[in-house]
């Protein structure tokens, strides 16, 4: 039980860390584009990004499972060219998590970018700084509280995922069994003590992360805190 417990927690931590890492790289340019672009089809991109917030995880999980299937062109292409099958694997649930947690990364970042006064960016231009230097030296540090919020929210949300991981990954120990699924599994087996341990840990992690986010938002001058 102990070994199994540690294994499950490690997979949970791994899934959350990798998902958050990937989303930070994908979400930053996407949020920047959403905050400053004026293209006509932007509302549909915004809607697509926010879909996981309103869609039942089982819907997204179903589509992802279909896409992974070798009967579908995407699954077939993966199998033929790369010899990869994603259903019921760790990589498979990482991709599913990335899609499912996308709004939790993109929305705080996007709000952060929108709150930066335009004059600060323009001031950097008038001082001879390129767009790239302005992005890394002025914009990113200016939205630091938003970046922390986005990371904490994404991390917490990925830990809390249940439905989509179950659909796409199943419940394979050491591969796709994460804490939230283990709780369900232990309750089914009437093993309430183990379920309680998992539940307590998830509860504490979520509480700590959300407290961090709210204390950041309260302290407007959080440049000094971090």
């Amino acid at each position: 039980m102990d070994e199994e417990f540690i294994e499950t927690m490690l997979i949970t931590a791994q899934l959350s860390t990798v998902t958050t890492g990937i989303l930070l790289c994908v979400g930053m340019p996407l949020a920047y584009w959403l905050a400053y672009s004026n293209v006509r089809f932007k509302p549909i991109v915004e809607a697509l990004v926010s879909m996981p917030m309103v869609l039942p995880p089982s819907v997204l999980g179903y589509y992802i499972l279909v896409a992974y299937s070798p009967n579908h062109w995407f699954g077939q292409w993966l199998l033929q060219h790369w010899d990869i099958q994603l259903a019921f694997t760790f990589e498979g649930i990482v991709i599913a998590s990335v899609l499912f947690s996308l709004p939790f990364m993109v929305q705080p970042l996007c709000n952060g970018f929108r709150q930066v006064p335009q004059s600060i960016v323009e001031a950097s231009f008038t001082l001879g700084k390129s767009k790239r230097v302005t992005f890394f030296k002025v914009l990113m540090p200016s939205i630091r509280p938003s970046i922390i919020t986005a990371i904490a929210l994404t991390f917490a949300h990925t830990i809390g995922e249940f439905g989509i991981v179950l659909m796409v990954g199943g419940n394979i120990p050491g591969e796709t069994r994460v804490a939230s699924i283990a709780i369900y599994d232990q309750v089914q087996a009437l093993n309430f003590e183990a379920a309680n341990t998992y539940a307590t840990i998830l509860f504490v992690i979520a509480l700590v992360l959300l407290t961090l986010i709210y204390s950041l938002q309260k302290n407007k001058s959080s440049w000094n805190m971090l």
């Binding site: 004059s119 600060i120 323009e122 950097s124 001879g128 002025v138 200016s142 630091r144």
Partner: protein, 296 residues
């Protein structure tokens, strides 16, 4: 550093609350001069600054700095803001919130030009504030930092957007001196947007009064703001600081633009539309100094 004359002749349709306004501005801006853009809000003053900075693209025309074309609609030339070597002070100062005062200035300067940063810190009395973040500064202190930062690149053209508008009147007077200092440090061609006639008279060599998108008047401050009918021998412009009644007459105290205090006797009819703070001209005709309100 030698600075060149700036030739500008542009047209830009700007969208205001009252609909589209065609803005046209044509002028020669001389190095070493402080130019003021004067006019009511929404007249397009800030847009002219932004066009000079390259932050807003005009519809037509050209901007030439010496022999270099910054903008030319015919040849499709539009040099980026970054390449224009300007200093721009924004109305909200636009200091970088995550950097200290010193870092704000260093960010603007060329790498390793610490000597310039140190001298700017000294020039604007920022020694004790240099490790503070912008949110720990007062409005006047932010203004000094913004001026120092705008100069850290040794700009050929210094653009100031309503530099003193956010400050109270005592602060304004001390910071007018800072702007003069900023100008004298590098003798860059300076253009400031202002709707304060007194401030313009103290600081500017030339004024462009903008009204409804066109230059309504231009010239020296006294040429632009003076009522043209006076032929007095002595003319001093200033602001009324007090009006005291003395039997049937009034004694009006005027603080001139050069800081002089002048007392003038005035008839009850003279002071009818005068009040504390009115912008006036004191002039002599024959013997006695007389006083009249200036059109602002």
């Amino acid at each position: 550093m030698e600075h060149a004359v700036i030739h500008i002749d542009i047209i830009k349709n700007i969208h205001t609350a009252h609909g589209t306004l065609p803005l046209s501005f044509s002028a020669q801006l001389h190095p070493g001069d402080i130019h003021a853009l004067y006019g009511e809000s929404g007249a397009g003053k800030t847009t002219i600054l932004r066009i000079l900075a390259g932050l807003t693209t005009p519809d037509e025309g050209y901007i030439r700095y010496g022999k270099t074309l910054w903008y030319d609609s015919k040849n499709k030339i539009n040099i980026s803001t970054q390449e224009r070597n300007i200093g721009f002070m924004f109305q909200d100062y636009a200091l970088f919130p995550h950097m200290t005062v010193l870092q704000n200035i260093q960010f603007a300067a060329l790498p390793f030009d610490t000597a310039l940063c140190t001298s700017l810190i000294h020039s604007f009395n920022l020694q004790e504030l240099q490790h503070r973040k912008p949110h720990q500064l007062s409005g006047g202190q932010k203004q000094r930092v913004a001026l120092a930062r705008a100069l850290a690149r040794k700009p050929s053209l210094l653009l100031l957007d309503e530099p003193l508008s956010a400050l109270d009147s005592t602060m304004r007077q001390s910071l007018q001196l800072e702007i003069k200092k900023a100008h004298e440090l590098f003798h860059a061609c300076t253009i400031m947007v202002s709707h304060d006639v007194f401030e313009i008279c103290v600081l500017a060599h030339k004024v462009f009064a903008i009204s409804n998108g066109v230059i309504a008047k231009h010239g020296t401050p006294s040429e632009v703001f003076r009522a043209n009918t006076i032929s007095g021998k002595v003319q001093i412009t200033g602001r009324i600081s007090s009006i005291a009644q003395h039997e049937t007459l009034y004694i009006v105290t005027v603080v001139s633009t050069s800081g002089q205090i002048i007392q003038v006797l005035a008839m009850p009819s003279d002071i009818q539309d005068l009040g504390i703070g009115s912008f006036v001209m004191v002039y002599t005709k024959a013997f006695n100094p007389l006083i009249m309100k200036l059109h602002t």
